[in-house]
């Protein structure tokens, strides 16, 4: 409560002068958007024309006999999950020691920290399907290339997430362990790992969910899994089959996600 003698204007906060900057930013953004829209060839009419496209009739009815056939879809779908499992285990397993090298808190020395961080930045900057495409060229078409690509990518994602968690860990247990005469790795193991391990498990499950999603589309570049079937049916314009596959895939993915979320809640 203010006393009546105090002038009111004093209490009111001064409005920051932001007009020039705001105007400049808005103009720049609008200009860039307009330019990109030209480059991309935006046709706003698509938004209403797309609904009346005769192609939608090809999506229905879904041939469930074909979709639920073992060799047509179910085997590639199982392959998809196998790719996701293998690459999650490999990626997350390798990420555990690598993250400790990369975190500022637990890195053995500064050069290791800087070099590994830069390297992982580059690995992550290449999108996952670029990796898949490259590895398909390198080791041949099929699930093996897909498993490789997803292992690399989940390793990169996992290291980023987990090493940042380690950065934020409480340094005192580590200092205590070092002060008590522990060497570097044992000190990290008993001073830092217990604190960050629940986060590791949560990230591993999250990475697994990401991998399940990514492994579905891997087949579009020839790296195995159910995406291979989608790609083949797409060439024949069998969108009814594609729709059936998608519905099946997303029911299964939804169930896996629910299990993973429940596990994450319990473990963390």
């Amino acid at each position: 409560m203010s006393s009546p003698t105090e002038p009111i204007t004093q209490q009111r906060p001064v409005k920051p002068t932001r007009r020039i900057r705001t105007l400049a930013i808005v103009l720049a953004l609008v200009g860039f958007t307009y330019f990109s829209a030209n480059q991309v060839g935006v046709k706003l009419s698509t938004f209403w024309e797309v609904w009346t496209n005769p192609l939608w009739e090809k999506f229905w009815p879904v041939p469930w006999d074909w979709v639920l056939n073992r060799t047509n879809v179910l085997d590639p779908l199982v392959e998809t999950f196998q790719i996701a499992i293998v690459s999650s285990v490999i990626g997350c397993g390798l990420a555990l020691p690598a993250s400790f090298l990369m975190s500022r808190l637990t890195t053995p020395n500064r050069p290791t920290h800087v070099v590994s961080r830069a390297f992982m930045g580059v690995v992550r900057a290449i999108p996952d399907l670029f990796w898949a495409k490259l590895l398909v060229t390198a080791v041949g078409i099929g699930a093996f290339a897909g498993a490789w690509a997803l292992s690399i990518f989940s390793f990169a994602v996992m290291v980023k997430l987990f090493s940042e968690t380690i950065d934020g860990a409480d340094p005192r247990p580590l200092e205590a362990a070092v002060a008590a005469g522990g060497r570097h790795m044992p000190a990290v193991r008993s001073g830092v790992l217990p604190e960050v391990f629940p986060a590791y498990v949560a990230y591993a499950l999250y990475t697994f969910e990401l991998n399940i999603r990514a492994s579905i589309v891997l087949g579009l570049v020839g790296a195995g899994g159910v995406g291979r079937v989608i790609d083949a049916q797409r060439q024949f314009f069998r969108f009814d089959r594609i729709l059936g596959i998608l519905i099946l895939v997303f029911v299964v993915v939804f169930i896996i996600d629910q299990i993973s979320v429940a596990l994450r809640k319990r473990l963390v």
């Binding site: 020039i20 900057r21 958007t33 991309v40 999950f81 999108p127 495409k133 490259l134 060229t137 093996f144």
Partner: protein, 304 residues
């Protein structure tokens, strides 16, 4: 576990009488640890056998990969620049930008309808499920369908990215709205504001910085996604990568990859700098500074 740390520790405890009892090693519940390890190994063995990865193939793969990597050296920038790789990468950036704009335009109003503190219960459930469904369809699948409907090209890619991003942005934005301070909302409604005014003056100013930073973050992700979309014919740098890989022009492939990485990293860094600025704010408080100093701080965000 035996290690120098444990050995020293035990010796110290034995030496001194007043030492506290040694705390137990903090590990998870033992039984569960083994069960989970068992499940993971069974799943791993099942998967590896299912993928029929022979040991010779496993051992041969690093060699193959290394062979390709050697063929890529030295990267052939000259040919690629002539073929307009920069334009291709920039096209990916434009696709990502348009996609993000589409997603932001649609997700912002929808996210108000999905937030538990400002929307009615039935509506919230509908919109939220809509977000979840959209989110669970990958961009590439959306693009596969859209390419058939709208034809090949960057516009299909931008639409696919935009559609997919509505799901993630909507979810994140509605969560941001749910975590607001209720004070301004109450203030607006106590002075007679209706729902729209409450949203405009009570909610939007609180959440806009967070949501803008989500948009930028999504833009970073979308740049990668739009590069990938080129692999299936939706424009951008991916198509260039595919054509060079198909002709086995590995030095050109290396050049494409390096340019892509450079652009992606530049955008990531610029965008995260802007996000930091949006969230933590910048500029000095007006008062004891000259107008020029204020303007400078305002334009650059640097405190003087």
């Amino acid at each position: 576990m035996t290690s120098p740390l444990d050995a020293n520790d035990t010796a110290a405890v034995l030496d001194t009488d007043q030492a506290a009892p040694r705390p137990t090693m903090p590990v998870g519940p033992g039984r569960w640890k083994w069960i989970i390890a068992g499940i993971i190994s069974v799943a791993l063995v099942w998967s590896i056998s299912g993928l029929s990865i022979g040991i010779d193939r496993l051992l041969g793969a690093p060699g193959d990969a290394w062979g390709i990597a050697r063929l890529m050296w030295p990267p052939d920038f000259a040919t690629e620049l002539e073929r307009g790789v920069l334009g291709k990468v920039l096209e990916s950036v434009y696709i990502a930008w348009i996609g993000t704009i589409i997603a932001a335009t649609f997700s912002l109003p929808l996210s108000f309808l999905a937030a538990s503190n400002v929307a009615p219960r039935w509506l919230r459930r509908v919109v939220r499920n809509l977000f979840n469904v959209i989110r669970s369809v990958p961009e590439l699948i959306v693009a596969v369908i859209l390419i058939a409907v709208t034809g090949l090209g960057p516009w299909a890619g931008a639409l696919a990215i935009g559609l997919h991003s509505i799901g993630t942005l909507g979810k994140l934005s509605s969560e941001a709205i749910e975590s607001i301070d209720n004070g301004p909302l109450e203030a607006v409604s106590s002075s007679g504001g209706r729902w729209v005014s409450k949203m405009r003056w009570g909610v939007l100013p609180q959440v806009l910085p967070t949501i803008t930073s989500y948009w930028l973050f999504r833009f970073e992700i979308n740049v990668r996604a739009s590069a990938v979309l080129g692999l299936i014919g939706a424009g951008g740098v991916g198509s260039e990568l595919v054509s060079q890989l198909n002709f086995r022009n590995f030095p050109q492939v290396a050049a494409v990859l390096i340019v892509t990485v450079a652009v992606v990293l530049t955008i990531d860094n610029a965008s995260s700098a802007v996000r930091r600025r949006i969230i933590s704010g910048g500029g000095g408080l007006p008062g004891d500074q000259s107008r020029m100093a204020i303007l400078w701080a305002d334009l650059t965000g640097r405190k003087t």
